[in-house]
């Protein structure tokens, strides 16, 4: 069994705005990652997008890094 931790890094440095469709994409990636034993890391998320994640309650689902 491969026990190395696999990570999917989503770089949001060029993401200025996020809609519900965008949130659904993030959730789909997370769901698929869990099935394959991967961890999702979100990097460089601007404050507006972070606030959308907070207002909808999804912020604690992701490992959000600077």
């Amino acid at each position: 069994m491969d026990v190395r931790e696999k990570e999917i890094v989503l770089d949001c440095s060029k993401l200025e705005y996020i809609s519900s469709s965008g949130l659904r994409i993030f959730l789909s990636i997370r769901k698929e990652a869990i099935v394959h034993g991967c961890k999702v890391i979100v990097r460089n998320m601007n404050t507006d997008i972070r606030q959308v994640f907070m207002m909808t309650g999804f912020i604690s689902l992701f490992d959000i890094q600077e």
């Binding site: 809609s19 519900s20 404050t47 606030q51 907070m54 207002m55 909808t56 309650g57 912020i59 604690s60």
Partner: protein, 351 residues
Amino acid sequence: MTALDLHQQMILEEYRDSLPVLEQLKAKVLETLHETLDSSGLFVSAIEARVKKEKSLTGKLALKGAKYTRLADVTDLVGARVITFYTDDVDRIASIAEKLFDIDWDNSVDKRKLHQLDSFGYNSLHYICRMPGYDFRFELQLRTTLQHAWAAINHDNGYKSDIEIPHEYLRRMNRLAGMLEMADDEFSRIRIELTDYRRRVQTLVKNGKLDDVLLDGDTFRSYLQAGPLNTLNRRIAAINQAEIQETPLDNYLQVLKSLNCNTLGDVDRLIKCYEENAYLLARHQLGNTDLDIISSSIGLQNVCIVCILSKGGGMIGLERLFDTLNGQNAQNATLASMTYEQARTLPFMKC
């Protein structure tokens, strides 16, 4: 090279010819065990199987060759092993095996029952089984992970029989076996007591005796099963006709404890006390957006935010909340500041 007589060589030749069938039997046994244990909901540490190697069979024939008139007399050509976490699961799986396979009772051994009052050692249940449709029998070993660890280490001692083993080594290994047997029993007892505890908690939650239940991971999950946040979440979802995505709330346990919730009664009162303002905060935040998907954690998240702000926790309190929920992060301060600004005009902030 071990010298075999003509008869033993014929058995060895029969073994070589039978290898494809033995491999097939091994695969079938593994498949049957996996399928049955999966569907029975029994979680085990490992299920493994092997076909006896030629070298091992040669050694066996040289040692006990006269005992075997034909290859099928060797009962462990295929060996399967189920390693369980708990001792009582050994008996459960034994009972399943009795239904799955024909057990050759004359050759099966429950080594756990062979122990003398003053001896410890290799504990394992060995069944000699026959899979319908196959001439060859196979050996099924059932043991716990601790029994397995002990047996594997003991097997690796470099000695071929008990007679050769130095007395001091044997004494110390037996001492360990006794200790592991006690540990196995204790693990089983803990599991039984935990199951009882969860059942008691579920009954107390069901009967509404929430003040009698201390807040911990288990009790919190039992409480959430009753859906105490469903109404609030549905009201928040209705703001934008949003879809509610189910998400775990485990990370709120620490938050609730920091808000002085010691029992489920405290949690219930906290939700009831702040749910209206939690809804107002959500309406204020989401009302002018088109976000039509929310997490099922939104209700509890807003209850915690409103509780902190109502008690004068301010931005520092919110930052601590986000640090607990999201992990420490420099942007949590910005998030706390933005949330504080959004909530500043709401009625509960003016009290």
